[in-house]
């Protein structure tokens, strides 16, 4: 393809978008709406995923220390636990800490138990987090075989259920995003096909005047690209600025919860990535919609 011909196709592609003003507008707005939907859901899903990760990472193993262990062997145990492969953090909670927590829980009734304070029946504990929450079971087993460990607890059933639940959410979210994307692709290419369908007589005339299929196809290729990218513009802007706004609005109140779990993903990286994906998606669907639907009109 010669240079001047490429220029011509480029020019005609842009002109075509303008000439079919209303149709182009309809196609662009279809792209806009569906990509907006995909983009917003993607953001929501990424955040839900992030929070699920946080919850999973927050899972702890309670290591009850034998009541008889003296201070130095307790310290030794702590060091040993840190050596266990897969352990990320180890925190100590003394008998007294435990009693305070317990009384906290009881609230008003605590006074009634005043007597137990002098003969604290609770165990001191190590609270252990795993690097990978999925390895919790192995870590727990390794730890339980250490010296001075009375018992190891990590709510196996509960955690298994929780992981299953989060996996369900992840798979559901992924399915939703994929479904929405497919839907967007279908709707957009459908709309673009309609714009081309309404120009089938023009295409027929071009062929009758001797235009090669590629000659007809290139401007439509450009046009599809333009439609798709223009359509992706608004969603990108909404996501780029909107997520920043939403983040600034929500994160402070989530921070009040004083928990490591409810942390939204930082806007800086996420929005750029999602925007790029949307742009690529718009461009791809635009081109795909316009070139595939041309096929049926390019039979001589």
């Amino acid at each position: 393809m010669m240079f001047k011909t490429s220029l011509r196709h480029l020019r005609e592609g842009f002109k075509g978008t303008l000439r079919n003003g209303w149709m182009s507008f309809a196609a662009i707005s279809a792209v806009t709406i569906t990509l907006l939907l995909v983009g917003v859901f993607a953001l929501v899903m990424f955040n839900i995923n992030e929070i699920s990760d946080n919850v999973e990472n927050d899972v702890e193993i309670q290591v009850f220390i034998t009541r008889t262990a003296d201070e130095s062997s307790v310290e030794k145990l702590g060091q040993n636990i840190e050596q266990v492969p897969g352990v990320s953090t180890v925190t100590f909670s003394s008998k007294e800490d435990e009693l305070a927590k317990f009384q906290d829980q009881l609230g008003d009734d605590a006074a009634a138990y005043g007597t137990v304070e002098k003969d604290n029946p609770l165990h001191a504990r190590y609270i252990v987090k795993a690097q990978d929450p999925l390895e919790l079971e192995e870590v727990a087993q390794s730890v339980s075989s250490l010296e001075n460990v009375d018992d190891v607890k990590y709510g196996k059933d509960y955690i298994d259920k929780m992981f299953a639940f989060f996996n369900g959410i992840r798979i559901g979210g992924l399915a939703l995003i994929v479904g929405l994307t497919l839907m967007a692709m279908f709707l957009i290419s459908n709309t673009i096909k309609m714009t081309i369908f309404s120009r089938r007589r023009e295409i027929e005339i071009m062929r009758l005047v001797g235009a090669k299929n590629s000659f007809i196809r290139w401007p439509f290729f450009i046009e599809g690209l333009v439609l798709g990218m223009l359509g992706a513009l608004v969603p990108i802007l909404v996501i780029y600025f909107g997520y920043d706004v939403a983040y600034s609005a929500l994160q402070p109140s989530l921070d009040q919860l004083n928990s490591d779990i409810f942390k939204l993903i930082d806007p800086s990286t996420l929005t750029v990535q999602v925007s790029l994906v949307l742009l690529a998606l718009g461009a791809f669907i635009g081109i795909w919609g316009s070139t595939t639907s041309l096929g049926r009109f390019l039979k001589i």
Binding site: E202, I205, R207, L208, V209, G210, N213
Partner: protein, 228 residues
């Protein structure tokens, strides 16, 4: 140049538009195709530029079996000939200038040479001042002349003209005929379907009359020949 052997065309709805037609058109010939409405003149011409495929027989252009060439070779064939369509077939979203230039762009001509050629040919058909107008801003005859301009702009060796003067007043029609004569003198082959008795009778060339898809008359320097 064009050789038809037992060419027939049956449309999908069963209409027999061409019925075992035999014909030879020599290089550089000027051929009038006459016949009543619905006789098969347009079908005859559509098969030459391969808008329709013959359903039987053989149609050779310069030895090439047009009915059998691959789809992707069709554009090349069409670019070698200039077609004036009975219903003009202008691109509605392009201006007059762009419509005519299109025929040059498909062959990959230079932008500068396109400009000159297009304006020249628009001048020839008397539409220089309509270059920037769109087809739906033109009168019927003006549209027809744009179609003529597009067909002749890249100086094809073969011109297929289907009723090229149907929407033109006699004076403009004679002007167009002079253009055709000039092109013909330079060596091009012209096949022209027409109902215009005056033209056929005054500018004598070979005439074939088609009726019900058959050639019923074939005369060198013939007359229109239907009496009323």
């Amino acid at each position: 140049m064009i050789s038809m052997q037992k060419v027939s065309k049956v449309y999908p709805n069963g209409v027999v538009a061409m019925d075992d037609l035999d014909l030879e058109i020599r290089d550089g010939e000027f051929l009038y195709v006459v016949g009543p409405s619905g006789a098969g003149k347009s079908t005859f011409m559509k098969m030459i530029y391969r808008e329709e495929k013959p359903t039987g027989g053989q149609l050779l252009i310069d030895g090439l079996d047009v009915g059998k060439i691959k789809d992707r070779h069709v554009p090349k064939l069409r670019r070698q000939l200039g077609v004036i369509f009975q219903d003009f077939k202008l691109l509605p979203s392009l201006t007059v200038y762009e419509n005519v230039a299109f025929a040059l762009e498909v062959v990959g001509a230079d932008t500068s040479s396109i400009r000159k050629q297009v304006m020249d040919v628009l001048n020839l058909v008397g539409l220089k001042n309509k270059a920037r107008n769109y087809p739906d801003e033109l009168s019927g005859g003006e549209q027809q002349r744009v179609s003529i301009a597009r067909a002749i702009v890249n100086k094809p060796k073969l011109i297929i003209a289907d009723e090229p003067t149907g929407n033109l007043d006699p004076e403009t029609a004679w002007g167009i005929m002079e253009v055709f004569e000039e092109i013909h003198r330079r060596g091009a082959t012209i096949v022209m379907a027409t109902h215009n008795r005056d033209i056929v009778d005054k500018i004598r060339h070979r005439v074939i009359a088609i009726e019900n898809g058959k050639v019923v008359r074939d005369e060198e320097k013939g007359a229109y020949g239907y009496d009323v």
